[in-house]
């Protein structure tokens, strides 16, 4: 099993500092899309590095290359390992994409708050809305809800990407999620594509076509422009901002609200977030 919170063997009298990572082994890499890979990570002795809740993040580090915060895409109900879906877009992610199964990385966490799966979301109908790589943080919640199916009402998942090739976790979506009773998956891609007979169009317009009633809680994640228009759509459908959750992403270094860079207004996104309700987001200064 993993190393739990314990006294630091190097520094007696202190807990192991949260800035110190653990060694994790990449036990599997799945290529999701041309620029997204999902990395399965386990402790060297097997099992998960730590326990987490849906929506929480962890710092993934390649020594000498860099360290960055990623959402944990696997559900806590997965007792064997943790997964990170990572898009290639910078120096660190470029390096991570060059790794192979068996390689080691450093991981520390979990950090931040989580989606209120055991409180506010419990017993509710749920509407998940995601675009592109933003399915990664939502997948953790979705699988948590599906594994505790009896605790939640109807589940609708609206997910879109640029093309069919850019849909992350497509296999799981089609072979697992779609087959569960009471779960409706609505996929869409931006432009027509050969071999795609599903919906075509941007997520916000598809959302409007689907015209959901407000008897549900929405969880929305995607690029800023998608968020903006989806939020507008949800408002038009009559959703209150207290009914919509999202997760924010900012530059982070420490993960515990001390290094200062993810500070917006009185909040530290790494510690007070990354999960916010939109009425809380509205209270933040416009710097995210």
């Amino acid at each position: 099993m993993s190393e739990p919170m314990h006294e630091c063997k190097y520094n007696p009298g202190f807990m192991r500092d949260t800035l110190i990572p653990q060694v994790g082994i990449i036990t599997d890499i799945r290529t999701e899309t041309p620029d997204v890979k999902t990395f399965r990570v386990e402790a060297p002795s097997g099992g998960k590095l730590f326990e987490h809740m849906p929506g929480q993040c962890a710092m993934v580090c390649a020594p000498g290359v860099g360290e960055a915060m990623f959402s944990i895409t696997s559900s806590p109900t997965n007792k064997l390992y943790q997964e990170f879906s990572i898009k290639r877009c910078g120096v660190l992610t470029e390096h991570l994409h060059s790794l192979k199964a068996g390689d080691e990385i450093l991981v520390r966490g979990p950090y931040g708050n989580n989606f209120p799966v055991e409180t506010e979301l419990k017993g509710k109908n749920l509407l998940f809305i995601a675009g592109g790589i933003a399915l990664a943080p939502l997948r953790s919640v979705i699988n948590y809800c599906l594994d505790n199916r009896e605790n939640y009402g109807d589940i609708d998942i609206v997910y879109g990407s640029r093309s069919a090739d850019d849909l992350v976790q497509r296999k799981e979506i089609e072979e697992v999620w779609s087959k569960i009773p009471g779960v409706n998956v609505h996929l869409t891609i931006d432009r027509e594509q050969e071999g795609w007979d599903g919906h075509v169009g941007f997520v916000p317009s598809y959302l409007q076509e689907l015209a959901f009633d407000t008897n549900r809680t929405a969880i929305l994640c995607g690029p800023p422009i998608m968020i903006k228009f989806c939020l507008q759509g949800l408002k038009e459908m009559g959703f209150a901002m207290e009914q919509v959750y999202t997760t924010l992403e900012l530059r982070m270094k420490c993960g515990v609200g001390k290094c200062g860079r993810c500070n917006i207004g009185t909040k530290y996104v790494c510690k007070d977030g990354p999960v916010f309700r939109f009425d809380q987001v509205d209270e933040l200064p416009n710097e995210y």
């Binding site: 500092d17 800035l19 530059r251 917006i264």
Partner: protein, 341 residues
């Protein structure tokens, strides 16, 4: 109350340094900063303000957190040893001592920063009252009395005599160790020195700045003020204000490849730098106006909102003295006082 002749201070330093590390103001190439005492060090307790504050001693400008070694494709992590030996900091001024309380709010809140916590546990603070406060000082605004600073031991330099008053258990323990160098003193001289200092403080041009427009409520009220746009323009986007500030604590974590291992270290960072919030897919503060605003909003609004009204400024005035463009927190406070928001 004890006393020691100023001329005998080298003996006191040597006596403390024989048992533990002693940090105190040392002049190097004409500038005074906190440094480790050695027999040859040019100790300078007359200079009012060290260029950098004493925060360096508890939160170093750069420090290694751990080393990662790679052997046969396996990583192993060597966590850096914390400070385990006691040390003494001599000659900290009242503003800088209070700044430690501000840093404590950050580093000693859960989860505790163990590197900082270890140094706080090991350090004994000997503060020094300010005989000659400067024009740029405004510690009074934050309820700091530079005539009677906080600290484990408080000292006053009055003429050719240093007066010494232990205030805490740590302070008493240190006093006991150097007892043979100290003699009993009465408090009359110190009392009149305090009064003289307080009389000067009253005359300081910034002593009566009003913080009425600041505090938790300012987080919303002042963010969209047009004043930011008017004030930021001369800002060079350097980190001088941040690095001389005793309460700025933002940091970066970086790698240093030594060849045989990767040293992961943390170093001071500045919200004034363009890459502070830069990440692979963009930057959420793209203009210097936003960065400038962030620094002051953090000190005067966000920090108090999260810390029961405590400001993240102690009025040391270093930024006032050192900003290459003569921008500073005093001007910001005054601008809002004058113009509203």
């Amino acid at each position: 109350m004890y006393k020691i002749q100023k001329a005998d201070l080298p003996k006191l330093y040597a006596s403390i340094a024989a048992e533990s590390d002693l940090f105190l103001p040392v002049k190097v190439a004409d500038q005074t900063n906190f440094g480790l005492y050695t027999e040859t060090a040019d100790v300078d307790i007359d200079t009012l303000k060290t260029v950098k504050s004493a925060k360096d001693i508890f939160f170093p400008q750069s420090e290694t957190l751990y080393k990662v070694r790679r052997e046969n494709d396996n990583f192993s992590i060597d966590v850096e040893q914390h400070r385990t030996s006691p040390f003494v900091v001599f000659g900290i001024r009242g503003c800088d001592v209070r700044a430690m309380t501000v840093l404590d709010k950050v580093f000693l809140s859960e989860p505790i920063d163990s590197y900082y916590a270890a140094r706080r546990q090991m350090g004994t603070i000997v503060s020094l009252a300010c005989g000659r406060p400067d024009t740029s000082c405004f510690c009074k605004v934050f309820g700091i009395d530079c005539a009677e600073p906080e600290g484990d031991v408080v000292t006053w330099l009055v003429g050719k005599v240093l007066y010494w008053q232990p205030k805490t258990k740590k302070g008493e323990a240190l006093t006991e160790k150097v007892a043979s160098l100290l003699e009993k003193a009465d408090e009359a001289m110190v009392e009149s020195a305090k009064n003289a200092i307080r009389a000067i403080v009253k005359k300081l041009p910034y002593a009566n700045l009003s913080l009425e427009k600041w505090g938790a409520a300012a987080a919303d009220a002042n963010f969209d003020s047009k004043l930011w746009e008017e004030m930021y323009k001369p800002c060079l986007a350097c980190g001088t204000c941040t690095f001389v500030c005793p309460t700025c604590q933002c940091y970066d974590i970086k790698d240093y490849d030594t060849g045989s291992s990767v040293q992961r270290y943390r170093c001071w960072d500045s919200c004034m730098y363009s890459d502070f919030t830069m990440m692979a897919h963009g930057n959420n503060r793209t203009s210097q106006m936003q960065r400038f605003r962030q620094r002051f909003m953090h000190k005067l609004a966000y920090f108090p909102a999260n810390n029961q009204g405590m400001f993240s400024c102690v009025g040391c005035g270093r930024c006032v003295d050192k900003c290459p463009s003569h921008l500073n927190i005093v001007k910001v406070i005054k601008a809002f006082e004058k113009e509203g928001v």
